[in-house]
């Protein structure tokens, strides 16, 4: 995209303010989210982005947990508001991956252990392909079943105005796409993207003055596991489960599969959506693939997952992608998602993001 990181941030921030009917003077604090500085080649990016995010002269904090950042940003906003410190908090997530050549993926090389892993020629795709293979092995999952998620999400994204890779494709297309890091194939992966997304959080008393249709952030959860990722059960994201239960307990949810109406699950890779659904207790262990194949997670299904089109379809501007999910749940719960609106009456939604070396879980439960 032509826009600079600050301009992208401004576009999203202005839209969020307009949506809430607010001006910057009404905002008391700002939380910003952006992932690796290495994409932009600008160190201390939080400070750099500040004016595009409406943060000049206001209490500001940047939160950063890699791919988990997008959902962690409104969690940071929740600290600001739920603590009673502020009545309004602007939460903005931005990522511009395109500046880095020859490929943005290069920025991830330095997340690996510098002494024991980098000398082996690591690429970020490895952690995904190794995890995907282990997940397939443990539960006897077929590549075709996993591919059905890419088909669904890219198809859903056709209706998203910001989508980068919305397309009607088939499982066969995914299976025949280039094996870049087997079992990961080209169409199993989300693209590098530029983007920004923003929301305004307000205290209960202010929110009720602003709108008759508020969406409440009822539960938040976040946990991290160690960077010793090769010592972990790669078939199951326990750290996502911990984050989920933290959010569910706060929101009073006891049976997530029954009580969550729609879920924007983190899907940088198609298998990841399934893996995370299991961690989020939305599917039993090894059972998410069947739900995808049976259409349960389609927009007209019993548990729509990634009605936005997800990272696979809309795109994966790291931090902004997680925030895009928060925005989608907001629109879905207000019945404002247009062509993307799910069939069922959605009252409780979930957004989740994941990141770093298979170690971050960030979860938000929202209600209309």
């Amino acid at each position: 995209m032509l826009e600079s990181p600050k301009e992208l941030s401004f576009e999203a921030t202005r839209m969020a303010l307009d949506s809430a009917g607010l001006e910057l003077k009404d905002i008391q604090s700002v939380v910003s989210g952006s992932a690796p500085d290495a994409f932009d080649g600008v160190h201390m990016k939080g400070e750099y982005l500040l004016d595009g995010m409406g943060g000049i002269g206001k209490p500001n904090q940047r939160v950063y947990v890699g791919g988990g950042t997008g959902v962690f940003t409104p969690i940071g906003g929740w600290w600001n508001v739920a603590s009673g410190m502020y009545d309004t908090c602007l939460c903005v997530a931005e990522e511009k991956m395109s500046p880095l050549h020859p490929h943005p993926q290069y920025a991830f090389w330095s997340i690996f252990d510098q002494i024991l892993e980098r000398p082996l020629g690591t690429t970020l795709l490895w952690i995904f392909s190794l995890e995907m293979r282990r997940y397939m092995h443990k539960y006897g999952i077929k590549e075709e079943e996993i591919a059905s998620v890419a088909v669904k999400n890219k198809g859903n994204a056709v209706d998203h105005p910001c989508a980068q890779l919305g397309a009607k494709i088939t499982v066969e297309d995914v299976m025949n796409s280039e094996p870049i890091c087997w079992p990961v194939k080209r169409l199993d992966v989300s693209p590098p993207s530029d983007g920004a997304a923003a929301v305004v959080l307000a205290s209960e008393k202010v929110a009720k003055k602003l709108t008759d249709q508020p969406v409440w952030l009822d539960g938040v959860g976040w946990t991290l596991d160690t960077t010793h990722w090769t010592n972990r059960d790669l078939a199951y994201p326990e750290y996502v489960e911990r984050a989920a239960w933290m959010a569910y307990k706060m929101a009073g949810i006891k049976k997530p599969r029954k009580e969550i109406d729609i879920a924007e699950v983190y899907d940088p890779f198609d298998y990841k959506e399934l893996h995370h659904m299991e961690g989020l207790q939305l599917a039993g262990k090894g059972e998410a693939p069947k739900m995808a194949v049976d259409g349960v997670t389609q927009r007209d299904g019993d548990l729509p997952v990634c009605p936005s089109g997800g990272l696979l379809g809309v795109g994966n501007p790291i931090a902004a992608a997680g925030m895009m999910k928060i925005c989608e749940v907001f629109w879905q719960l207000r019945g404002e998602a247009g062509k993307r609106q799910v069939k069922k009456d959605a009252r409780t939604g979930l957004a989740q993001a994941w990141g770093d070396l298979m170690q971050v879980g960030t979860v938000a439960v929202m209600r209309s």
Partner: protein
Amino acid sequence: MSQKITSYPGHEITPEDVKEGKYLDVVYKFEPKYSWAAGVAISRFLAELKEGRIIARKCLNCERILVPPRMYCERCFRPTDEWVRIKDTGTINTYSISHVGTDARRLKTPILVAVVDLDGATPGMGILHNLGEVEPSKIKVGMRVRAVWKSSSERQGAITDIRYFKPIGDE
């Protein structure tokens, strides 16, 4: 609100546009040099690799044998207690066939990569390494493998002192 958005400013710049000089192209090279502290645990681990051996650390509280070794147990949050020599054989926990390099450029020969659970460590204690002397299509989860070491004169105290792991086969 999203359905009300009908158009977006800006357009995509392709790599070709940049090559053709249509846009200002600023090249920024950041070439710092680091001398990392390997730390107490990994320094010993590397020294043992130089001798052709793999060493782990044991926590007597949870009784886990940890590899890569660490001087503290992150679960019990106490110092670990003893060095334990483990084997250079193990089992493939998971594997992948990588057709891309570090910067996502396509490779002529794929890199075979695996998490190998080492014998003698607590089950599930894997390390990342490469596989060799095996057809990609023959690799299986659960396959037994052994480290292929560089010669003692070539070893320098690095993870690459192990060239790769190869199937044990009928040895």
